[in-house]
Symmetry: C2
Subunit: 213 residues, 2 copies
DNA sequence: GCAGTTGCGGAGCGATTCGCTCCGGCATAG
DNA sequence: CTATGCCGGAGCGAATCGCTCCGCAACTGC
């Protein structure tokens, strides 16, 4: 038997997960109604828990930062620097750390958030330092590179589009393909490659059609 | 002196470029008004050239496919298989090949589009086959992997967000950081690494908080 | 210099969707 | 069986959507 309290607690968790998923698919366009529907609750219930849409996103942002920090600490707990670093990256990518980017500019940043973000930076720095020292990470890769890599892979256009089109049957294949991509990128982090740019390898490859970038 | 005809021609090119940029920043939410404003023309002018929003996107889609095919042909023209392949990838990423993904499901696919897409697949296959034969590309990397890599890097959450926030001053640094990421991924494509998954390296890294994926 | 023509920008249309409120109905407690 | 409180969703005003249409400015032929 499920009491009403059980349901309430489950909704709390489900709501944030739904928010993350909808955010991944719809970007900044994500609507409160879509999040509530995805979570399987009414709009009223959502607003009983979070006063505004912004409050929901702030809460989600905090959860995201918490996950980052916990994953980094778990990574540091691993005695193998390379295993710890890659476990951290995998965890963050799977969590979808990049999905909040579209709304990052629309919500107010609390000092709790910035404090946790600062701690997250420190943890990642340590993760990278350890890997450098052990010689398992190419020297010219910085902590910033790792952050960007996580953010870049945190959203998957292919997976998002499939999910929106309701082709859930293809999701496993897409997820697998994505894991292959991440594995490729991780291999690129190992030592023994030429130096990174600097100036890009082939500056003017692009047709003159586009000027930007 | 600029005649009216000059302006008209320039608008034609500028319009598609603006559409691509706005699409990158706003995703499927991109509005016609935003595209016209970005291009520096009135809404009326946009609708004089394209009957509907869909027609504009279809035209952009064709342009995107043309760029893919031209870049692939240029890559094949290079006698060095690795240089040709990486030049192709760089060109497609810089063009922003992934930015159309959010609207791909909303526009009707003409047979001209699917024909060009098929040709693009063939060209990429040949690019990959050459590289495999020359031994400069790891054996377990497929053409699909390359496509996904291009799509994944075709959008840059960081760059898009900076541009939306009007921090144009930071764009060069962000673009540079992005190039570093691509270089890392390309290095991961070289031979001499362990096999790709298959089953992911660390299946249950993730906290149990999220169930999806 | 003047009338005629062409193409431009943007105000404004109806429709849609947004964040959010509020209330009728149902499940549970006593 | 009554009383209580939480739930879902209809519906509010505001904002935004794709798109039309017209007044004005810029150029041409005389």
């Amino acid at each position: 038997m499920t009491t009403r309290k059980d349901i309430a607690e489950r909704n709390d968790r489900t709501l944030l997960q739904a928010a993350r998923d909808v955010l991944a698919e719809d970007g900044a366009h994500a609507s409160v109604a879509a999040i509530a529907t995805r979570a399987g609750v009414g709009i009223g219930s959502l607003y009983r828990r979070y006063k505004t849409k912004e409050e929901l996103f702030q809460r989600l942002s905090l959860l995201s930062l918490d996950h980052w920090n916990e994953a980094a600490e778990q990574g540091l707990a691993d005695s193998d620097p390379w295993a710890g670093l890659t476990a951290f990256i995998h965890s963050c990518v799977a969590f979808g750390q990049g999905t909040l980017a579209p709304v990052a500019g629309t919500i107010e940043v609390t000092q709790e958030m910035s404090a946790k973000a600062r701690r997250g930076d420190e943890l990642l720095d340590e993760l990278v330092r350890r890997a450098h020292q052990a010689g398992v990470l190419r020297r010219d890769v910085t902590a910033v590179d790792i952050s960007l890599l996580i953010e870049q892979f945190g959203r998957s256009p292919v997976v998002d589009q499939l999910r929106k089109q309701g082709r859930g049957d293809l999701l496993p294949a897409a997820a697998e393909a994505r894991r292959r991509l991440i594995a490729i990128a991780l291999d690129g982090l190992r030592p023994g490659h030429g130096p990174l740019p600097g100036s890009p390898p082939g500056e003017e490859l692009f047709t003159g059609r586009w000027s930007s970038e």
